[in-house]
């Protein structure tokens, strides 16, 4: 992304920034692909793409929910905790079969989402604090329910994690379907329009008679449900429930994906395709650094720089 700026600086600066905000993330992904094809051995194998895609799928699913929340000018820090909660509840109720376990997971996630939404919509707490409380408490509950890692032996869960249709893993299919669904909701439904209107200006949305509180609660419940799906899928892939570390820093990855993808933190706009590309960009960046034996510390520093650069590029939009 940095190279792209340098090359095009002589052009009209405002137009470059505009272009960068909308297409910068795709340019970044393309650049990383080209670089990797040039310098990384065995990059162009189907196996590699499959691995990358399976790894990025849970991040994409969480980021979809995060994009909706950020679209309402909020943020949800509790997504990692919800993933951990999903993992421990899955382990507890798997004895009754996969479907009942999933239903209980959905109930738990919905309760967390309701609590977040109620704090934000009815009490009027800032989203960052409301979800912080649920983040701390949620992981606590997950650990109380299941104090340590537990191996799960369930054929249907295992096939969910590693099975495929026509060579495409279930994880990727599920992530794709959810991305299309969320994009449809944002673009084509009343709910999506109301969500963006609230993000633009909550007082204006209230004055216009929109059901602000209901929409906000639904957004946070949706975000928690998506995080729970990601938690179940990650658990299925690991074939073990790990409430201690599953979803740690996931809120960070998800926020990064959303922001890098061109959704402003100031709300009122949601870019779903960009969010998916943002998650892919971070995944490719990490994979590139790892494949060239650079230690994780460099990955973190690189990620930090990408976040700041992306927010810096998006900053003009907030002011206008």
């Amino acid at each position: 992304m940095a190279e792209a700026t340098l090359k095009t600086v002589p052009l009209d600066k405002a137009r470059v920034m505009q272009w960068l905000q909308t297409y910068g993330v795709y340019a970044g992904v393309a650049l990383l692909l080209v670089v990797n094809i040039a310098i990384t051995p065995h990059f162009l194998s189907a196996e590699n793409f499959r691995t990358q895609a399976v790894q990025v799928a849970p991040v994409i699913i969480v980021a979809l929910g995060m994009a909706l929340v950020i679209g309402t000018e909020g943020v949800d820090l509790s997504v990692g905790a919800v993933m951990a909660l999903a993992a421990s509840v899955t382990a507890l109720y798997l004895g009754y079969g996969l479907l009942p376990a999933l239903l209980v997971v959905a109930v738990f996630a919905a309760v967390v989402g309701l609590a977040n939404g109620a704090l934000v919509a009815f009490v009027g707490v800032q989203p960052i604090v409301a979800t912080l409380a649920l983040m701390v408490g949620g992981r606590g509950v997950a650990l109380v329910l299941l104090p340590q890692l537990e191996d799960l032996r369930n054929p249907s869960l295992a096939s969910l994690g590693s099975g495929d249709v026509l060579g495409i893993p279930y994880l990727i299919l599920i992530a794709t379907v959810l991305a299309l669904l969320v994009a449809f909701v944002v673009r084509r439904t009343t709910f999506g329009r109301q969500l963006l209107a609230i993000g633009d200006s909550r007082p204006a949305a209230e004055l216009a008679g929109l059901p602000v509180r209901r929409v906000l609660i639904l957004v946070y419940v949706g975000c928690a449900l998506l995080a729970a799906v990601a938690g179940v899928l990650a658990t299925a892939r690991l074939q073990a429930s790990d409430p201690t570390s599953l979803g740690n820093l996931m809120e960070l990855s998800a926020i990064t994906a959303v922001v890098v993808g061109g959704t402003p933190l100031t709300g009122g706009r949601v870019n779903i395709a960009g969010t998916v590309a943002g998650a892919v960009l971070i995944q490719l960046l990490t994979a590139t650094l790892i494949k060239h034996d650079l230690p994780p510390s460099w990955t973190q520093i690189a990620q930090a720089i990408v976040i700041v650069a992306a927010v810096y590029a998006a900053r003009g939009r907030g002011k206008r």
Binding site: I128, L252, A304
Partner: protein, 345 residues
């Protein structure tokens, strides 16, 4: 004259709202009560919890236990002090946990090159990261939480790079001045406790009695108004993030001195504890209102609750998180409610 005339129609409207909300006579008293609960609610809860705990558990109110709690609270308290300044300006600093870990590692690493290096290095490096945070927030006008989130990642990356990906733990030699600073006691209390108390007194004086302190409140209260009145908004913001970074680094260095090593896995989630302590202590997250003393009470309250949960024994330590989360939610609800009341009155 024109000012009073334009004000005139507004005042009765405000009175009308008051009358609808409460009895007209009790409104002033009720406002004072709200302010009192907001400022000292945490202290009251701390006293009650401590009293109940000392009656319920024989081992709670012993000198050893209290001393341990005080020392182990000291490090979080120093971090929370910096966070208080940041939050009063209406910002937030999520990088403190990483800076805490980085400060500890730098102190332990630097202790091989003498005490001065060991003490200054964490302060300078963490302070520099704080300056970058402040510049990005104040000059580039980026959202504080995303800037400091990136700094959290970057600082942890730096810390891992210094320690061969966390495989290398630097030790602090016994008998050095640094070790004495962390582990020694003065008048029966650990040195970190005294340092913390001194820092809080200094912090309270700076916030209440200096021009910089007034600017901190002004920026948090209303940034545009502060700028129009000529307060140096950008400089104030850069200074508070720098202060937060320096204090987090200092806390990390002291903690490393206490443990005699730069432990790399520390500080995860510390930013959340610090924010929780500040909020519990009555500082408004919207900025403009806050108390340094409240943050100290908030830290102590979190520590006492943790201690009580440990004393119960049958409760797993995960309950600590559940209780902290629930408590934070309760406090925020109460604060928002009190804040709204005060606005209405």
């Amino acid at each position: 004259m024109t000012a009073t005339k334009t004000d005139a129609p507004v005042a009765p409207a405000g009175d009308g709202k008051q009358a609808a909300a409460t009895e007209p006579v009790g409104s002033a008293r009720s406002e004072r009560l709200s302010a009192l609960v907001q400022q000292h609610g945490a202290l009251a809860v701390l006293v009650v919890v401590s009293l109940v705990a000392s009656f319920s558990f024989d081992s709670f109110a012993t000198g050893d236990n209290v001393g341990n709690m005080a020392t182990s609270s000291a490090f979080l308290a120093i971090v929370a002090l910096g966070m208080t300044f940041v939050i009063i300006t209406g910002g937030i600093d999520l990088s403190v946990g990483s800076l805490f870990a980085l400060g500890g590692v730098l102190a332990a690493w630097g202790s091989r090159h003498g005490t001065l290096v060991a003490l200054l290095l964490p302060l300078v490096v963490c302070g520099a990261i704080g300056v970058v945070n402040g510049l990005l927030v104040a000059r580039s006008r980026l959202a504080p939480f995303i800037v400091t989130l990136a700094a959290m990642l970057g600082a942890r990356g730096l810390m891992l790079a210094l320690t061969d990906e966390g495989a290398n733990t630097y030790l602090i030699g016994k008998g050095s001045f640094l070790a004495e600073l962390g582990q020694g006691t003065t008048l029966g209390l650990g040195n970190p406790v005294w340092i913390t108390l001194a820092l809080f007194v200094a912090g309270a004086v700076v916030l209440r009695r200096t021009r910089f302190g007034q600017h901190v409140y002004a920026v948090g209260g209303n940034e545009d108004a502060a700028a129009l009145m000529g307060a140096p908004v950008a400089r104030t913001k850069i200074l508070v993030y720098t202060l937060s970074g320096v204090l987090a680094g200092l806390a990390g260095a002291l903690n490393a001195a206490w443990l005699a090593s730069g432990v790399t896995i520390l500080g995860n989630g510390m930013e959340l504890d610090a924010i929780a302590a500040v909020v519990i202590g009555g500082t408004l997250l919207t900025g403009g209102l806050g108390y340094v003393s409240g943050s100290l009470v908030g830290v102590l309250l979190l520590r006492v609750i943790q201690n009580v949960i440990n004393q119960v024994g049958s409760l797993d330590s995960s309950y600590q998180q559940v209780v902290s989360g629930a408590f934070l939610a309760l406090v925020v609800i109460a604060q928002t409610w009190l804040g709204r009341r005060r606005q209405l009155l």
